[in-house]
């Protein structure tokens, strides 16, 4: 499943990475504790979080995530956006809650296949 399909289906706002939407999403991970995300997420995951601190970019890059979705309309911090550009990490914003965002992405990945 490419990132573009998910962006379109959920109406996600693209804060960085309009040119990176052909990335393949193979799974998802939800978490706000970066230690936990580092320990348990996988390559290809679309990471859903409320955390907007610049360290999310390093974690997503380290774990080779397909991208990051910030929930409840939360915008990335300025230094987070700068880092995203440097590391080529797509940053998307969902107006939905974390629960709804994860639910919809889970449905898309499982119904249409990863």
């Amino acid at each position: 499943m490419d990132l573009a399909t998910i962006v379109k289906a959920l109406g996600l706002k693209i804060r960085h990475g309009a040119d990176l939407l052909d990335r393949n999403v193979t799974g998802g991970f939800t978490g706000d504790l970066l230690s936990d995300v580092m320990a348990h997420s996988s390559e290809g995951d679309l990471w859903i979080t409320r955390q907007i601190h610049q360290n999310i970019i390093a974690v997503a890059s380290l774990k080779d995530h397909a991208g990051i979705v910030l929930v409840q309309g939360n915008e990335p911090a300025a230094d987070t956006l700068e880092k995203a550009a440097k590391e080529n990490v797509p940053i998307l914003v969902s107006d939905l809650s974390g629960f709804e965002t994860a639910g919809k992405i889970y449905e898309i990945l499982n119904v249409r296949g990863g």
Binding site: Q54, N55, A58, V59
Partner: protein, 245 residues
């Protein structure tokens, strides 16, 4: 003359909602003296109203009282701000209070008592002290430094509300003056577990919420006197000042 001071730089009072009511100033000072502490920093969650009372209780005793606060950043990272006297901390307190949303609900979170040196309740703080501020960690560290204080990352080995649990690793940017380890880990345990943080000074503190917790951990600091300036020199290993590991 340089001397080793036994310092507990992270102790709560009954002002913190999660602390026991018997952590009132007079009893707290008595306990600090009984376990042989030379210095204590009072660090309530996002608040400072009991510091002056603790200081008054310690007048005429060998116990030095530093003015501190344990602040929760918007990333829910806890950090300590340390100052010599509460007056220096007030601009920080005002800023923190302005950016701390919510009202306390005693039944759910616990009572936040301001208690004077005669064991009388002066009042109750109604701010939601257990909550997190809306302020970014980096801005808080900068503000503490601007006001002449020290910034210490709280209990970095804990699985909740620590910089490592919330943010995965220590962020670049304005540096912490020291990192704190829980009593369970201690400074030595921290050195084994976090070799990558070798360049930081480590301290360990009781993070006492109950009177019996005071004395379960402290940091021995070699310095000239108990002041923030001397502590800062010890954290930087200047002119013989140092943290005894």
């Amino acid at each position: 003359m340089l001397k080793v001071f036994r310092c507990d730089l992270h102790v709560h009072t009954c002002l913190s909602p999660c602390a026991e009511l018997d952590m009132y100033p007079r009893k707290l000072v008595e306990r600090c003296l009984a376990v042989g502490l030379d210095a204590v920093a009072i660090c309530d969650h996002n608040a400072s109203e009991n510091i002056a009372w603790v200081r008054r209780c310690a007048e005429g005793t060998p116990l030095a009282v530093l003015a501190g606060m344990e602040i929760a950043s918007r990333e829910e990272v806890h950090l300590l701000a340390l100052f010599d006297i509460v007056e220096e901390l007030l601009p920080l307190q005002e800023w923190i209070s302005r950016h701390l949303p919510g009202r306390n609900d005693e039944r759910r979170f616990g009572c936040q008592a301001i208690v004077n040196d005669r064991d009388e309740v002066e009042g109750f703080c109604d701010r939601l002290l257990i909550g997190a501020t809306e302020l970014p960690l980096q801005a808080i560290v900068e503000r503490i430094h601007d006001l002449g204080g020290l910034a210490v990352a709280s209990h970095i080995d804990r699985e909740s509300f620590s910089i490592l649990s919330q943010l995965g690793f220590i962020v670049p940017g304005p540096p912490f003056d020291a990192l704190e380890l829980s009593p369970e880990t201690g400074i030595r345990g921290g050195r084994i577990r976090y070799p990558e943080l070798e360049q930081f000074s480590f301290i360990t503190s009781s993070d006492a919420h109950h009177i019996r917790d005071i004395g379960r951990a402290w940091t021995d600091v070699r310095m000239h006197a108990v002041t923030v300036k001397e502590l800062s020199m010890a954290f930087r290993k200047r002119q013989g000042r140092t943290i005894e590991e």
